[in-house]
Structures are given as C-alpha cells and as structure tokens.
Symmetry: C6
Subunit: 81 residues, 6 copies
C-alpha cells in the first residue's frame, strides 16, 4: 500500500471531500488489514446510525485539514454547476 497519498491538494472541494473519506478509511485498513473481517464489519456499521455519524465525524476532521491545505479553494469560481 504505497503512493496512495501523493498530495493533499485537489482541484475542487468535492475532490477534497472524497479525499477526506479516503483518509478516514485508510486508518481502519491499516489497523485491521484483513479485508474479509473489514467486509463483515462494514455490513454492521452501514446499518448503524451511530457509527455512520461517527464516520462522518472523522471525515469532517480530515476535510478541515484538506480544506486548509487548499486555502479553502478560495479561487474556485463556484460556477461549475
């Protein structure tokens, strides 16, 4: 598992958010490397509101870091929609 995080810089806030989700998962993967066990655990927490909120909390912390790294994408035009 190498070269999975070349940079915190992303082009858009959405990509930054997706990177935050990725960062939140890697710690789980590195703590429980067995993919089968993780799959079983995933089925459990995907159906548990409290754990989904806990996941969202971890994503929020990483997103804060990534947003800062990208100067909050302040130069993004915002008219890509």
């Amino acid at each position: 598992m190498s070269d999975w995080l070349p940079s915190l810089i992303t082009e858009t806030p959405e990509q930054g958010y997706d990177l935050a989700i990725k960062l939140s998962r890697v710690a789980v993967k590195k703590t429980q490397p067995d993919a089968d066990i993780r799959e079983r655990l995933r089925e459990a927490y995907e159906n548990d509101a409290g754990q989904l909120i806990a996941v969202s909390h971890v994503v929020a912390v990483h997103f804060s870091t990534i947003a800062k790294a990208n100067h909050y994408w302040r130069d993004a035009t915002g008219d890509e929609t």
Copy 2:
C-alpha cells in the same frame, strides 16, 4: 452525485451553517448509499438524543471549517434582521 459542493464560500453565516449540515450528511450518504436504509436509520436517530447531539458535533466541525473559509463573514453588517 456531482457538483454538489462548488464552493465553501457563502454569503451569510446562516448559509454557512446550512452548508455544514449538508457536509455532515454527505459522508453518511456516501458510506450508506441505499436511500431506504438511510430513511429507516433516520427515523431511529431522530428520536435519540445522543445521536442528535452527535450530529450536532459533526456540524460544529464543518461549520468551523466553513467559517474560516469565509473569514468568519466579518464584513457582514449584521443588520439584516
């Protein structure tokens, strides 16, 4: 699910707060993509004080990020009420 987050910049603190709520929900959606299951979970956590407080915590973290991105809306006049 694309173009859901064009920018962290909002016109008012209230819009920033609403964006924080949105950011807290997207991680749940991306972790549990099944809308029916989410609906069932929502009924559960909406009636659980502990989980509502946990949701509020995630919103607080995102609001912090968004507030910084907007320089705390310091130039807002505050007389819109």
Copy 3:
C-alpha cells in the same frame, strides 16, 4: 427559521459563549424539527451526565470558532465585573 445568525461577532466573551450554545442547538432543531419530540428528548438528556458532557463538547467546538471570529475579544478590557 431565518435571520437567526446575522453574525458571529459578539461584544463580550459571554455573549460568544451563549451564541455557541445556540449554534449547538440549531443543528438538533434542524435535524428533528418536531418540537414535542425535542421536548421529550430534552427531559431525557437533561438527566444524563454523559449527554450533558456531550452537549458541552459541541459548545466547546462552536465557542472555539466564535472566539477566533472575535479575535478572542483581546481588546475587551476585562474590568466589567
């Protein structure tokens, strides 16, 4: 529910703290809009030490944001007591 947050700027640290409490409650209100259910939940968590501490945690995160927005009220004289 509009114009509830015209600004993060407050005159004193105490007002900033009260605003932090308000911010922590709005997310609950927006997630569970039914006032009767919230009232029932409130009776429960008001008597649960763990949940009161969790509330205090959310307030701490918002207070951090508000304190920064106000430059920590460093120019406040501190002799209002």
Copy 4:
C-alpha cells in the same frame, strides 16, 4: 449568571487550564440549571472513568482556544517552579 467570563486572557497557563475547566462546566449548568439534579449527576460521573475522560476531552478543546487567545503564554518565563 452574568459577568462570569470577562476575558479569555489569563496570566499563566495554569489559570488558563482552570478557566478551561470552568468553561466546560458552564454549558452543563446552562443546559441543566437545577443544582440538585446536577449534584446527583456529578456523583455518578465522578465514578465513571469513561465520563471523566469525556470531561477531560471537553477541557482539552477549551484549553486549546484559551491557549491561542493567550499566544500560548510564550513570553512566560517558565522559571516560577
């Protein structure tokens, strides 16, 4: 309950830490204003390791805010011991 927080500025890190403890308690007090109930809850959480750690977490967040407000007391000499 007024004038309880005239300033975030303290002379020493220790006073800042004590203020952080105070800030963590006020949110509880404002959420559960009944002193008798709080006293009963206090007896419970004082004997619960998990809740003591949760209290310590809230203190840590407030201490971070206060430390920043005081520029980390960098000019303190540190030779008062």
Copy 5:
C-alpha cells in the same frame, strides 16, 4: 496542586507529547480529587480498549495545542536518534 504547568514550551516533540499526557490527566484529577477512587477507575479503563482510545484522543487534542505553541519544533534537527 500549583506550579504544575509553568509553560507549554518544551525542548523536544517527545517532551511535548508527555506534557499532552499530563494535561489529559489533570482534568480527571481536578474532577475526581480522591486518589483511591481514581486508582480503582484506572484499573478499569486500563483494560478497556474503548477507553484507552478515548484517552489517546484527548492526548491528541492537547498535543495539537502544544505542537502549535512550539512552532511544531520545526528548528529541531531530528538527528538526535
């Protein structure tokens, strides 16, 4: 219990980490001053993975504060090993 925190400045990151552990414990001590009760609680949480992780979380928050106070020890050479 006085003069226990003369400064947040430490010579090395390791000393900063140790100070973070100390800061996480003092809040517990100040909330539950009875050393015998704390000893009993300690035996419990030392054998509870969830509470050890919670302790580590509090340490992480304090370490963040201390690292900032020390400008992340950026001038440390890193070749002391």
Copy 6:
C-alpha cells in the same frame, strides 16, 4: 522508550499519515504499558467497527497537526506515483 519522536517533519504526506498512526498508539502504550494486555485488547478492538472508527478519529486529529507542521507538503510535486 526514548527518541521515538525526533521530529514532526516528514518527506511525504504518506509518511505523515503513518506518523499520525504511531502517535495515536503511543498514548495507549504509555497508559497501558503491559504488552500482553494490549495484545488482548487489540484482538477485541480490531473486530469492533466502532472502535476502529474511534482509532481513525484519533489518527485524523494527529494527522491534522502533522500536516500543519509540514505546511501541508504544498511543495510536494505529487508526481511520485
């Protein structure tokens, strides 16, 4: 256990992430020094989704600190893949 943290500076974001994992573990180690007990606890939390998410949360806080210490590795080219 000395010289385990000579610096917060790392060459790449990945090394920073690994350091964050290390920092999250050391607090556990210093709180529960008995390696046998830790091994037993590890088997438990490795199979508990909630605790894996809690571990990931602690890593997120440390990663935020380390990312700041490294100016978010903004000068990293990102083409090492």
